[in-house]
């Protein structure tokens, strides 16, 4: 069997590219190996851990279960694309740094990409909606607590709610007045 190749045209981190790929490659393979965008991490390769998440046409995808040939015509962002030309961190990256949302850092790139999508959506998520929106990522270091805080704060700041954002600091005890049957 001879190998099958294809030229893929797409935009990665704002730059138009043409890349020859083996059609068997996943988008993770293309980004990591061909384009050397190593922020895209491999944690499970079956779409369970979320470490390889990239933004495709405005939506977060697990690049491990996305064929590289499907990138044709798409606009793709990886974590490398969020940092400014002078090394400036975007606000969501900075929030991850400031809030202690990073430990080993392996899940971080994927988490930041999904968070970037959330904070740029212009939508105010409830706490439960935030958890759900972030639930495609597994993290074994942080218990998600500081990630939650980083995303919520940045989301509120994007909405101009600076004072509310500052109040997100306290962990505190949550009161649940009503029982919450599973349904």
């Amino acid at each position: 069997m001879s190998k099958q190749y294809k030229v893929v045209h797409c935009t990665v981190n704002g730059k138009e590219i043409e890349q020859i790929v083996d059609v068997r490659e996943s988008l993770t393979d293309m980004l990591r190996n061909d384009l050397r965008l190593t922020s895209v991490k491999k944690g499970c390769e079956v779409g369970e851990c979320g470490a390889c998440t990239v933004i495709i046409n405005g939506e977060g995808f697990n690049s491990c279960i996305y064929l590289a040939v499907w990138a044709e015509g798409k606009e793709i962002w990886t974590l490398e694309g969020l940092t400014g030309p002078g090394g400036e961190l975007s606000d969501i990256q900075q929030a991850f740094v400031d809030e202690g949302a990073i430990q080993c850092g392996f899940c971080t790139p994927g988490f930041i990409m999904t968070s970037w999508e959330i904070v740029n959506s212009g939508k105010e998520y409830t706490d439960d909606e935030l958890r759900k929106a972030l639930s495609g990522h597994l993290c074994r270091c942080t218990g998600y607590e500081n990630i939650f805080r980083a995303v919520k704060k940045t989301m509120l700041r994007h909405l101009g709610k600076y004072e509310e954002a500052e109040l997100v600091n306290s962990q505190g005890i949550t009161e649940y007045p009503e029982p919450m049957p599973f349904k």
Partner: protein
């Protein structure tokens, strides 16, 4: 001591690079041209490999070589535990492993390896090879107590009845003590399950030749130990190997074992030093790395009417899987903790570490204490209930008292830690109010709140060597690099060490740079990070080395200031004359002058080793509040609070992060995680992140971490262990809270819907009219 940098929430030094995605982990550093190794795993749980036909696999395009267990010319059995080596053979880890074996002892044992140009060819070859192995299948055993029975399959010749080790403790006389009239007896079996570390970066390593040596780059917690073990496994001089540890995507103890570095190095050598990469797929990580021991406890207590203990017994069976790894250390830790946490004059205890045909158990966050804490704290709750005492008051009464001294470890409880932690946690979560509020509930949805505590100590003294080495090198501008054997694996060791050095040298943290990636050719010897010892042990060598450097700095300052050293100090980056407080020169000017002076040029550096001969108790507690939906057999964790006394907190933000991570692991341990094997074949059933239920973002409430800071007097910076303790008390707190809600105190983990359904049915909380016969209760 007033601190400027210690105790501050300094941002992790690597956070910015990690947020940019430019930190390099092992795979990111490996050249694209590397050949790919895939390990051929046994598909029988116990057996003998008779033959492996490699012909067909070798024909697959892209396959470079197939190695099998029969290619090993010499058999060098080696130990894998990330323990410091001992020159005393009696204290050495059991050497029972081969890099490939023809005598597989568990489903997933390593019997061969494929080297290929790409992962597809490697996977194709593995699939072909799996069908080309001829086994003589042998009966297998998965349960520890079953494995000890006469006639059970034997795994290792030298260990009859599969008992790797058996130890006992005896204090006073239980036999006499229980004759006391009026005693209440409480007895229980407590069963914990095997779980896996699930660091998001799988284990990975690569190897290549350099000169007449082999370089191994590996995702490990213990680079210097890895180098020694590669040497042992290959029967070669240890200096023939250079081990490099890049940034690590989590370890949690799994990477405190030597995993595939020896095999990878051996294959590179067979291929003349070619670059070969062994990237363990997630599915294999669950099977052929390490897991946490399932330990079964049996505890009996005899209580006096006042709620004190008259006598206690404990037995524990620790399922070690097929190879020794950390051996008896994990079971022994639990057994030795038992008489310390709730002291009693009359105690009998024994524990067995048992080989079974399951995946190998090793170190995992808590080192036996999550299991022991579950047993101890379920039992404490049961004792309190039997005595009709408030569970918190019961603990206050019976826990290790202030001033308690443990002769072997020389540990002492210096402060009223337990009560302080309880008070703080109870206040944060509103414990006493909620206990009242949640009394006598009925209905389908009920809530409960409860507490648990745990025993932990900080390092491995006096059981094993404790040594830490540090090197600090000053630059021309007065900034420094430092190197330590204690590895950064995500926990923040580099940042904590930098804060200590900044404190000692009185320079800003921004002038202190970790050389984060250990290289055994460059990094001073250190055994790595484990046992929650990092911050404690590195503190000694960091402080000693920084003091040495400071001495040299002040001596140099004498040369340029003409002032006597005893009138000089280093304050805020300046050489200061202490007699009048005048700043004489900056540290940068000094470093520059000293290096380039034509009169006695010197590069200001210091290096030292500190052997630690102390240890420290590190205690705390967990409060959990749950809501149980009885018909749905589901638990929702509403609130959780951990309070820890880890002494002086070096960095509150990072310390909280450690607590959150431990809580999170505890939540999964309590409610959902469990590795399973097929009883008929010994095959792992759920070795992937879909079927193995690591708790997700939506399974977590907000996590609360609080601290009580009692300065640890034995420590260089008043600090003590925090890495593992937060994972220990969570599961029993959740179990006790479910008990408070439903009246059912369940003695096994996880408390998943499967377990709850069975228990609720047995107890009549669930009545399915169509099920005529009650489900047979499993277990003992």
């Amino acid at each position: 001591m007033s601190n400027k940098y210690i105790g501050q929430s300094v941002t992790r030094l690597d956070a910015r690079d990690k947020a940019m995605g430019r930190i390099k982990y092992t795979d990111d550093m490996c050249d694209k041209g590397a050949l790919v190794i895939r390990v051929l795993h046994s598909t029988v749980a116990n057996g003998i490999v008779k033959k492996i036909d490699t012909e067909e696999a070798e024909k697959i395009p892209g396959v470079v070589r197939v190695f099998t267990c029969f290619d090993l010319e010499e058999k060098h059995y080696y130990p894998t535990a990330g323990h410091p080596w001992s020159t005393d053979p009696a204290h050495q880890d059991i050497a029972d492993r081969l890099i490939m074996t023809d005598r597989p002892l568990f489903y997933g044992d390593d019997i061969g390896a494929v080297v290929a140009e790409d992962e597809v060819a490697a996977a194709q070859a593995i699939r072909v090879l799996e069908k080309s192995v001829e086994y003589e299948e042998l009966p297998f055993v998965l349960d520890a107590q079953e494995a000890m029975k006469e006639g059970a399959p034997q795994l290792h010749e030298k260990y009859p009845n599969n008992v790797l080790a058996h130890t006992e403790i005896h204090m006073g006389s239980v036999e006499e003590a229980i004759k006391e009239p009026g005693l209440t007896k409480v007895e229980g079996w407590y069963e914990t399950q095997p779980v896996q570390h699930c660091h998001i970066e799988n284990f990975i390593c690569y190897a290549y030749g350099e000169g007449d040596r082999t370089v191994v780059v590996t995702s490990t917690q213990i680079p210097h130990i890895v180098r020694r073990v590669i040497g042992q496994a290959l029967g070669m001089d240890w200096g023939k190997f250079r081990v490099i540890k890049p940034y690590v995507g989590g370890g949690f103890g799994n990477k405190q074992d030597v995993l595939y570095e020896p095999l990878c190095a051996w294959i590179s050598i067979q291929l003349g030093g070619r670059l070969v990469k062994l990237d363990v797929p997630r599915e294999d990580t669950f099977i052929s790395n390490r897991i946490r021991h399932a330990i079964r406890y049996h505890i009996t207590s005899w209580m006096r009417p006042d709620g004190s203990f008259a006598a206690r017994t404990i037995k524990a069976w620790c399922n070690n899987g097929a190879y020794s790894s950390h051996g008896h250390a994990i079971a022994a830790k639990g057994l030795n903790a038992f008489p310390q946490l709730y002291p009693c004059d009359n105690i009998d205890g024994e524990t067995w570490t048992v080989y079974t045909n399951r995946s190998v158990a090793g170190a995992m966050r808590g080192y036996g204490m999550p299991q022991a804490s579950y047993a101890f704290e379920c039992h404490a709750e049961d004792c309190a209930r039997a005595m009709k005492m408030d569970p918190l008051e019961f603990r206050r009464k019976n826990l290790m008292p202030v001033g308690y001294y443990h002769a072997f470890s020389k540990n002492e409880l210096y402060s009223d830690t337990f009560n302080q932690c309880f008070d703080k946690g109870a206040e944060i979560i509103g414990y006493y109010d909620k206990v009242k509020k949640y009394k006598n509930q009925t209905g389908d949805i009920r809530r409960g709140i409860a507490v648990s505590t745990f025993w932990y100590n900080t390092a491995v003294y006096p059981i094993a060597l404790e040594t830490s080495s540090c090197r600090i090198v000053m630059n021309q501008d007065g900034s420094v690099q430092f190197q330590l054997g204690e590895t950064e694996i995500g926990q923040g060791a580099d940042t904590a060490a930098a804060q200590m050095i900044a404190e000692e040298l009185s320079i800003p943290v921004s002038m202190v740079h970790p050389v984060s990636c250990q290289d055994t050719d460059i990094t001073p010897f250190g055994t790595g990070v484990y046992a929650s010892r990092g911050t404690y042990t590195l503190g000694f060598s960091v402080r000693q080395t920084a003091m040495l450097l400071k001495e040299k700095i002040l001596e140099a300052a004498h040369q340029f200031t003409r002032m006597p050293v005893y009138n000089l100090d280093l304050i805020d980056g300046k050489i200061v004359r202490t007699t009048d407080g005048r700043e004489l020169m900056s540290i940068g000017d000094l470093a520059l002058s000293k290096l380039y002076t034509t009169d006695g040029s010197q590069h200001l550096t210091a290096e030292s080793t500190y052997q630690i001969k102390s240890n420290a108790y590190s205690f705390g507690c967990c409060f959990a509040e749950v809501e149980v939906d009885i018909p749905m057999c589901r638990v929702r964790l509403l609130n959780i609070v951990n309070v820890h006394d880890c002494g002086q907190v070096i960095n509150p933000l990072l310390a909280s992060g450690q607590v959150h991570g431990g809580q999170s692991m505890g939540i999964g341990y309590a409610l959902s995680e469990k590795l399973m094997w097929d009883e008929k074949t010994g095959r792992p059933l759920n070795n992937n992140l879909l079927d193995y239920k690591l708790s997700s973002f939506m399974d977590h409430p907000r996590l609360n971490a609080a601290f009580v800071e009692n300065y640890e007097p034995t420590s260089a910076y008043g600090t003590k262990g925090l890495g593992e303790p937060p994972a220990c008390p969570v599961a029993p707190a959740i179990r006790n809270a479910i008990g408070a809600a439903t009246g059912l105190y369940i003695n096994e983990l996880p408390l998943s819907p499967h377990t709850l359904f069975r228990e609720f049915s047995d107890a009549g909380l669930i009545n399915d009219p169509w099920r005529k016969e009650e489900q047979g209760k499993e277990g003992r």
